[in-house]
């Protein structure tokens, strides 16, 4: 953009592109632009829209933009963010900048933010909103309604309202719907309230989010160890947390680290850095397959035709193992399977794998025989049966064992399982070959 005219034209082009989009569509579009375009486009947004759009961006994109804005504009936006969104953004920024921004906040907002930043990473306390409306357990419906009205302007949500007893302890929750529908304003709130589901500020964020989702709650109070009210975790927050965890699991199960940014904002070098570690680990593990074949080198030299089927065999084992693995990772994540179910799971997976192996062995026999001879076809078929049974068993067992020793099952990704299966599969192949062909 060498000249001023070109710059203005570009600015107008980008502004036109964003014209008429709502905040989330604009945020998505900004994620697709180059860094320079993104900064130009954002600066051209009218103020109220800019704040909305900013709130809709990933924290990584927010951090990226903050560097390119005037400090008054930054201060304004940061001040307007909800405390939990602000805490998330601060996690992405360098410590020096965070301190500058903190000092630029109003005292009230600064206190709220300090509270949140005091909780450990990935805890419910970091993600909650401290701006929570609450009512006393001794109030009547009429008093509660007036009280909530007063707090409505600043509260994160008024649809679920914690009811407090002595010392700000949470004794129940009441829904706005129930308050609203109640005919008689003199009804004690205690009659409408239900037992609270709550989470502790120190709870892991994913566990807290699942509590919100599983119970179908609009929001859940967040308490300290004495059950005193600290904040509230909304279903919005819960969904954001679970989306992030899902993105991380997706990345891990495919064998790479989470990108953490919109895909098109990530250059090839960063893609490389996110993936190379796993690739190195896996190629190291694959060295085992070389070792196995070296050990059986004589067998291979005698019957070179055995080599023809190696990719097919390891591929099939990998596929069968991946099927079982992904099924179990999901079943563990949603709580359908627990670590104590290991024997039960392995039993059914072994049977399923044997059925798969039998089917594939029968299907493969005749073509293999036509290509080579009966002996090799027999070796291939028997190996397929063995590999499939082994692969489904290992593929299902590994996530469960991982969870039992405290490793995230999704971390033990399909490529890892397939490497174990590949090596075992080759051993089976050559042992069967020696036995059947008398080598």
């Amino acid at each position: 953009m060498a000249t001023r005219t070109e710059f203005r034209t570009r600015t107008r082009e980008l502004a036109d592109r964003l014209d008429g989009m709502d905040a989330s569509a604009t945020a998505l579009e900004l994620g697709r632009m180059s860094r320079a375009d993104r900064a130009v486009s954002f600066r051209s947004l009218p103020k109220t829209r800019a704040i909305e759009v900013f709130e809709a961006l990933d924290p990584s994109m927010q951090a990226d933009l903050v560097g390119g804005l005037r400090s008054e504009q930054v201060a304004e936006i940061i001040e307007d963010l909800d405390p939990d969104d602000r805490a998330e953004l601060f996690d992405e920024l360098p410590a020096g900048l965070v301190n500058t921004l903190l000092s630029g906040l109003s005292p009230q907002e600064r206190a709220l933010t300090d509270t949140l930043l005091g909780y450990p990473h990935d805890s419910a306390g970091r993600r909650m909103s401290p701006e929570v409306a609450s009512i006393s357990e001794r109030a009547t419906v009429g008093e509660a309604v007036a009280d909530v009205r007063r707090q409505a302007a600043t509260a994160e949500t008024i649809y679920t309202i914690p009811v407090l007893g002595a010392g700000r302890t949470v004794v129940g929750v009441v829904s706005l719907r129930d308050l609203f529908s109640s005919a008689d304003p003199r009804t004690p709130v205690r009659e409408l309230m239900s037992a609270p589901a709550f989470v502790r500020a120190t709870d892991d964020q994913e566990a807290a989010a699942r509590t919100v989702r599983a119970g179908g709650y609009v929001a859940v109070p967040v308490v300290d160890d004495e059950q005193r009210l600290l904040g509230i975790l909304t279903v919005d927050d819960a969904m954001r947390i679970l989306d992030e965890e899902e993105a991380e699991d997706d990345a891990l199960s495919g064998g790479s680290s989470l990108l953490g940014q919109p895909y098109l904002a990530v250059g090839p070098l960063r893609l490389f850095r996110k993936r190379i570690v796993w690739l190195l680990v896996l190629i190291g593990a694959a060295a085992l397959t070389v070792g196995v074949q070296t050990y059986f080198e004589d067998t291979l030299a005698e019957v070179v035709a055995l080599a023809l089927f190696i990719p097919l065999l390891v591929g099939t084992g990998g596929n069968a193992g991946a099927q079982a693995g992904t099924t179990l990772v999901r079943a563990l994540a949603v709580g359908e399977v627990r670590t104590g179910d290991l024997v039960r799971v392995v039993g059914r997976e072994a049977v399923a794998g044997a059925l798969e192996g039998l089917t594939l062995a029968v299907v493969a026999f005749v073509p293999a025989m036509l290509l080579t001879d009966v002996g090799i076809a027999t070796v291939v078929s028997v190996t397929i049966l063995g590999i499939c049974t082994l692969a489904t068993t290992i593929g299902a067992a590994v996530p469960i064992v991982a969870k039992a020793v405290g490793i995230d099952p999704a971390l033990v990704c399909s490529p890892f399982i397939t490497t174990i299966v590949d090596t075992s599969g080759l051993i089976i192949y050559f042992l069967v070959a020696r036995a059947v062909l008398g080598l």
Copy 2:
């Protein structure tokens, strides 16, 4: 359970196990039991709890239980379900049973259910709740509040309220929060309302669910082609839909069909049936790898040591391709990448793949040389570079091309990509071997 005493003991055991659990935990536990135990446990639940638990179950589990309950108990439960949950359940039941159950409903509930069943499968109309509270655009806040109170008992939600103009067309939405916080009851509702995001009843359910989620809405009105109000889709419904879609994608990307039931409720035969089709397709595709090696059989016979590295090479290619594939499937699903970005994506993935290949080639060279000789090590390293570059490019391009021709990217699962990569990788390997070793 041969004797009456054993039956009573078992019933008591199961009832104890479920004691003190909330509805969703009970539903999870029922999913882990055998069919017989599940029926016994459910029948032992007190009536109100039974209805809650029933609503928390997957439709497949609901259908499973319905067969084992007395018809009065079934009729009671079915009558109490929300219309959208009922429609989902009916989808799982045989047509004859559905007709029987429909005729057992009260006329009002039957009409609501008929409405929903009239919409196509997987459409927003099937999943919406027709029980929607609404207010007129000419109402004041005071009138609206009274109106909503009247409708509150039967409405699915009162937190988002569609505002209707002439002919029941949706002209805006107002939140209960805004109605509630409004100081002056004479304020026209039109001043508080915001432009409606809405979905059509004929829209695909996943697209509708994403609209709800992306906008952070509590609920979204569902309209017909003339924008007349038909029902409402809540964030609960949206999350259920997206969870189902995610489960389906997870299964597909691992290479098997969706289980559709809690894992432990599925026997080995059913696991086998869900997976065998893909395994057969993939082993058929793997026959290509056999073909490639047969074509190059002479090369292989001359330098048998080439076979040692085949599993490692195809494994590495598969891993690199899977990394790119899972990244792109996700980026496409959340809208960060569109089909028009193919060239952009392929460009950056090719560079990333080349960097990966270069790194792995360097790492592999010396060990390969020590094991065999310089010539073969050169062949292996050059092939790794080629395979990685090819694998990431194919792995990233295939989901985009799939989406462009209307196939669900998640369907083109990692095993499929790895099979393409395996075959191309072998071709590269042997061609490089011939060139470098002068064969």
